[in-house]
C-alpha cells in the first residue's frame, strides 16, 4: 500500500470515533467534549502533578516490576531445572497464581502500612507469579538435544545459564513478563486508590469524588497513554530479545 493510503486507513477510524465523541458529548455532564478533555489534560498533568503524582507512581511500578522480574526469574530457573523441586512446588505456585492479585492490597496494607514500600510490595507480590511460573515452564521445556550439546562441549556453570538456559527459556519468560506488566499497572492504580494521599490512582479517584468530570476523563486518558506507552516499549524490547525466535518461525504471531 502507498504511504498516504496507509496513513488514511490508520487514521480513518480513530478520527471517526473522535468525531462521534464530539457529537455525543454536547451538553452531557458525564461525557465532556474531546477538546475540553484535551485542555484539561494539558492543564492537569503538565503541572507539578507530573512530579508529585505521576512520576512517583510510574517509578514505583517500574521498581516493583523489576524486583518481581529478578525474583521470578531467579527462583524460576532453579525450580525449572530440578524435576523434584518442580513437582513439590508446582501446586503451591499454581495456588498463588490463582489468587487474584488485587486481594493482596488490603492484606499488605495491614501488614506493611501505607507507604511507598507497601505499594512496591503489592506490585512485586502480584507480578512475581506469572513471571515465576512461565520461567519454570520455559526452563522445563528446554531442548534436550541442546542440553546434551552443552554437556558434550563443556558448556557449564554460568556460561550454560547465560547462553543456554536463559536464552532458551526467554520466549516463555517474556510471556510471563508481558502478563505481569498488565497486572502491575492494575496494582499500581488500585494500591493508590485504596489508601494513599498521592499518586495517579489517588488523584483520579479524587477528581471523581469531587465531580471534576473533565479532569477525571483526562486522568483516564493519561492512564490509557501510560498503558499504551509501556506496552509499546515492551513490544520493542520483546522484538529485540526474541528476534531469533520470531525469525525461526517458532512463534506464530
Amino acid at each position: 500500500m502507498r504511504r498516504p493510503a496507509r496513513l488514511l486507513t490508520l487514521l480513518a477510524l480513530p478520527a471517526l470515533l473522535v468525531l462521534a465523541w464530539w457529537a455525543v458529548s454536547g451538553g452531557s455532564f458525564y461525557l465532556p467534549s474531546p477538546d475540553r478533555v484535551g485542555r484539561a489534560f494539558v492543564e492537569t498533568w503538565f503541572s507539578e502533578r507530573l512530579v508529585v503524582d505521576v512520576l512517583p507512581s510510574v517509578g514505583r511500578l517500574l521498581a516493583g516490576y523489576a524486583m518481581a522480574a529478578l525474583l521470578g526469574v531467579g527462583l524460576g530457573v532453579p525450580i525449572g531445572l530440578s524435576p523434584r523441586l518442580r513437582a513439590t512446588l508446582e501446586p503451591v505456585l499454581e495456588f498463588f497464581r490463582a489468587v487474584p492479585p488485587p486481594v493482596l492490597v488490603p492484606l499488605i496494607m495491614l501488614l506493611a502500612g501505607i507507604d511507598t514500600f507497601m505499594k512496591v510490595l503489592v506490585i512485586v507480590s502480584g507480578c512475581v507469579w506469572p513471571i515465576l511460573l512461565n520461567t519454570v515452564e520455559g526452563v522445563r521445556a528446554l531442548d534436550e538435544v541442546l542440553s546434551d550439546t552443552c554437556r558434550m562441549y563443556g558448556v557449564r556453570g554460568p556460561s550454560r545459564l547465560r547462553r543456554f538456559v536463559l536464552r532458551g527459556a526467554s520466549p516463555q519468560i517474556m510471556t510471563g513478563l508481558r502478563q505481569a506488566l498488565s497486572i502491575g499497572i492494575i496494582l499500581m492504580v488500585i494500591s493508590e486508590m485504596f489508601a494513599s494521599s498521592s499518586g495517579l490512582g489517588f488523584t483520579i479517584v479524587l477528581f471523581q469524588r469531587q465531580f471534576q468530570i473533565t479532569e477525571m476523563w483526562s486522568g483516564i486518558l493519561l492512564l490509557g497513554l501510560i498503558g499504551l506507552g509501556l506496552s509499546v516499549l515492551f513490544r520493542r524490547l520483546e522484538r529485540r530479545v526474541l528476534s531469533w525466535y520470531y525469525g525461526s518461525g517458532a512463534a506464530r504471531a
Binding site: P100, P102, S182
Partner: protein, 259 residues
C-alpha cells in the same frame, strides 16, 4: 502413570510443607500472630465463614459478575472479530484503534464505573467486560487470519455463501484460538470482578475482604484470600475442561499465541 502418581505425592508434600510452615512460623513467634495467623486458624476461620449464608451470597455475586461479564465480552468479541476478519479491508481499518484501546488498563475505568453505576453489579460488569473483551478479540483475529488462504479460495470458488463460509471454514479454524481467548479472558475477568468489588464496593468476595480488612479481622482476610485462590483455581479448571471438551475433535494441538 506411576510417574504422575509420584509427582502427585511430591505436590501434596509441597502443599503440606506450606501449611506446616504457616502453622509453625507464627507459633514459634518468628512472625507476630497478629500479622500471620497459624494455618489452622486461617482454615478454621474459613470453615466458620463457609457456614454462614453471607459468604455464599458474596461468592455467588462474584461468580455472577464474572460469568455475566465474561459471557457478554465473549459474544461481543467473537462477533466483532469474525466481522472484522470476514469483511475485506476492515482489519486494516480497525487495527490502529484496536492497538490503541487494548493496552488501556481497565482499572482506568474505575472512576467512570463508580460515577455511572456506584457500588453495584454494573460497575463489576463494566470492568470485566472491558478487560476480557480484548483478550478474546485478539485471539479471534489471530484465528480468523489463520484460515488457510487456499481453503478460503476453494470455498469462494465453489460459491459458498458468506454465512456458510463463516460456519464451515472460519469458525472451525478459529475455534482453538477462540477457546484460548476464552481461557485467558476467564482469568482476567475473575481478577477484575474482585477488583471492582474491592475498590468500588460492589457486592462480592472483594467487598467482604475490604470489610474484614477495615475491621482489622486479619484471620478473616487471610481466609478470604485463600478462598479467592481456590475459586481462581476452580475457574481455571472449569474453563480448561470446557476447552478440552469443545476441542476434543480438533486435530490441532495448539500452543498459546503471543498476544
Amino acid at each position: 502413570m506411576t510417574g504422575a502418581l509420584k509427582r502427585g505425592w511430591y505436590g501434596l508434600a509441597g502443599l503440606g510443607g506450606l501449611l506446616a510452615l504457616t502453622e509453625a512460623v507464627p507459633r514459634l513467634g518468628l512472625v507476630d500472630e497478629r500479622f500471620l495467623p497459624p494455618a489452622t486458624r486461617i482454615l478454621g476461620t474459613l470453615a466458620a465463614q463457609l457456614a454462614t449464608p453471607e459468604l455464599w451470597i458474596a461468592l455467588g455475586e462474584t461468580l455472577r459478575g464474572w460469568a455475566l461479564g465474561l459471557a457478554l465480552a465473549f459474544c461481543a468479541a467473537v462477533v466483532t472479530g469474525v466481522v472484522i476478519g470476514v469483511v475485506p479491508g476492515l482489519r486494516a481499518l480497525t487495527s490502529s484503534t484496536v492497538e490503541f484501546l487494548r493496552p488501556i488498563p481497565s482499572v482506568a475505568l474505575v472512576p467512570l464505573a463508580t460515577l455511572l453505576f456506584g457500588p453495584s453489579l454494573g460497575s463489576t460488569l463494566l470492568l470485566v467486560v472491558y478487560a476480557s473483551f480484548w483478550q478474546v478479540l485478539i485471539q479471534v483475529l489471530y484465528g480468523v487470519a489463520a484460515v488457510d488462504s487456499v481453503a478460503a479460495d476453494t470455498a469462494r470458488a465453489y460459491g459458498l455463501s458468506v454465512w456458510s463460509r463463516v460456519r464451515h471454514l472460519v469458525w472451525p479454524t478459529a475455534l482453538p484460538y477462540v477457546m484460548t481467548g476464552l481461557r485467558l479472558a476467564a482469568a482476567v475477568a475473575f481478577i477484575l470482578a474482585v477488583t471492582a468489588e474491592l475498590v468500588i464496593g460492589s457486592p462480592g468476595l472483594g467487598a467482604e475482604i475490604q470489610v474484614a480488612q477495615s475491621s482489622g479481622a486479619i484471620p478473616a482476610v487471610y481466609a478470604l484470600i485463600v478462598l479467592s485462590g481456590l475459586v481462581g483455581i476452580g475457574v481455571n479448571a472449569a474453563v480448561r475442561l470446557l476447552e478440552r471438551r469443545v476441542l476434543a475433535w480438533h486435530p490441532s494441538v495448539r500452543s498459546e499465541v503471543a498476544a
